[in-house]
Amino acid sequence: MNAIETSGLVKVFGDTRAVDGVDLTVPAGTVYGLLGPNGAGKTTTVRMLATLLRPDGGEARVFGHDLRSEPDVVRQMVSLTGQYASVDEDLTGTENLILLSRLLGHTRAHSRARAAQLLEAFGLTEAAGKQVKHYSGGMRRRLDIAASILNTPKLLFLDEPTTGLDPRSRNQVWDIVRAVVAHGTTVLLTTQYLDEADQLASRIAVIDRGKVIAEGTKGELKASVGVGAVHLRLRDADQRERARQVLAGALEADVQLDSDPVALTARLTGRATEQAAEALAQLAREGITVDTFSLGQPSLDEVFLALTDKKKEAAA
């Protein structure tokens, strides 16, 4: 069962095609990352899937229920934490949660107990009686997510959940997301941070200008722009030129000289580990001393830049 299936989803604002034919398949029980820069169409896609915007074209189903014909059924299964905290600033943390719990149909007593329980679990007990406008960004986010899981949803939309948060608060939000997924909720996460998608998502769609330009598991995406890269640091800067020639010969790849005078980076193309081992052996035979050596997958940053560049080349 797929949590989300869309085909050719379109949303037009004036003469901008904010979402221009998006096809997504999100398997249930996973974190799916929608990765893209500002204005790529991530938020618009999420808003359509959360029934806040009507699609102008295409099909979309949430757990098999059509967005257009059964919006109320969809609303019973989803929860949205928007890009801007969707809690009431004038009310306290407790009041916000009680309000939403009551709107979900819980009794007053149950709502009060549930609010206290959630505030405790999210580390907000001390701030429970304070108006939300006095909360820090991280606290607001946590309250927002707490509000979203009042009725543990089957599908949770998190629209840039850590934008503007300090690293500590960001890690806390990540922990919460992991706990939510471990419980069986599907999460659709939009982010412009590659490490966030890398940390949380199992599948990622890279979206740019309203279109999905790449889709797959993290590994697949990385593989699509090369197997990985070898990073070397030499003891002696004078040996770098010689090392470059050796590596270029052994790896049949471009070797970049880094700004650090003893460092080199080579992108691998084929059988990564064997090539790298062979290259190391050759360097040793040449009498070049290697201080550190690391073999890594390309970062999602490199993936994103490579993908957007490819697209530009294709267009040109």
Binding site: A50, D88, T92, L103, G105, H106, T107, A127, M139, R168
Partner: protein, 280 residues
């Protein structure tokens, strides 16, 4: 930067607690339309509790209007301030309360900007509930404003012939009409880009509506072409209905028109509001 410090002192979420809260299995059926609306009404009351300053507009403005009209124009219009207030007070209550109905639109607009609206719209509840909730909360303001004006009026010498019951009935009709009239502002609240433009457009409507009415002077003193507007103005019919009730009488014609307008406002602007709400 007290806020950041406070945040640092707060404990981080605990993994085991998180796991526990996610085990929530109680899945209640969706709340009834009434229950959802009342919950939103409760929210509006909480907002008044947390930001009581917002009642300043509701109380200070009407007092200013009564004092100004009674003492500035009273002598010229009715011979003496004391006599004029007998005619003016029911009408000025109507004007004041109708004027503050536009805050409903401001509240809707502010919520949209803040993002909390998005959450309400993704809830599986009776769709008009948030809108009805705003208006329910505002009924409290209307009652409060009416009470303040009555007290000030009594101090200044207003002596309603209908007594306490007449006054209460008058206020009840006024509040009921205001509920209907508020739908105009929920519509504008959804339509306009900012709360400033909501206020701007409301003044454009409210000033002519409240002044070109029978609130301040008897329409019989006006030129015929103006009378033809003033006599069908909903504010006039409302003012006349309320005035009659407070004086201990009953103006059937005015009452019928007032309720007719109320139904029309609710049907037309309620429908337009919900259309915009679903499309937004």
């Amino acid at each position: 930067m007290t806020v950041t410090k406070e945040a640092e002192l707060l404990p981080a979420p605990k993994a085991e607690d998180l796991a526990a809260v996610l085990l929530e299995t109680v899945r209640p059926s969706r709340p009834s339309a009434l229950s959802a609306s009342l919950t939103f009404g409760w929210r509006a009351v909480l907002k008044i509790k947390h930001v009581p300053e917002q009642l300043f507009d509701v109380t200070a403005f009407p007092i200013m209007m009564i004092l100004m009209f009674t003492y500035l124009f009273g002598g010229a219009l009715a011979g003496s301030p004391g006599e004029y207030i007998q005619y003016l007070l029911p009408g000025i209550t109507v004007t004041s309360v109708v004027m503050i109905t536009m805050y409903t639109g401001v509240a809707v607009n502010t919520d949209i900007e803040k993002g909390v609206f998005d959450r309400f719209r993704t809830l599986p509840i009776w769709r008009p509930a948030p809108m009805v909730g705003y208006i329910l909360g505002d009924l409290l303001r209307y009652v409060l404003a009416s009470a303040v004006i009555m007290v000030v009026g009594l101090i200044l010498g207003f002596r309603p012939g209908g007594g306490f019951v007449g006054v209460v009935l008058g206020v009840a009709v006024l509040v009921a009409f205001s509920f209907a009239f508020s739908w105009v502002w929920t519509m504008f609240g959804l339509l306009m880009r900012s709360e400033k433009s909501v206020m701007g457009i409301s003044m454009l409507f409210l000033f002519p509506l409240t002044f070109l009415s029978s609130v301040y002077v008897d329409p019989a003193t006006m030129p015929g072409w103006l009378q033809s507007f003033v006599n069908v103005n909903p504010i006039s019919t409302l003012a006349e209905a309320v005035r009659a009730l407070m004086a201990g009488g009953f103006d059937g014609d005015a009452m019928m028109w007032t309720f007719g307008y109320g139904i029309v406002f609710t049907a037309v602007f309620g429908a337009l509001t919900m259309r915009l709400y679903n499309r937004k």
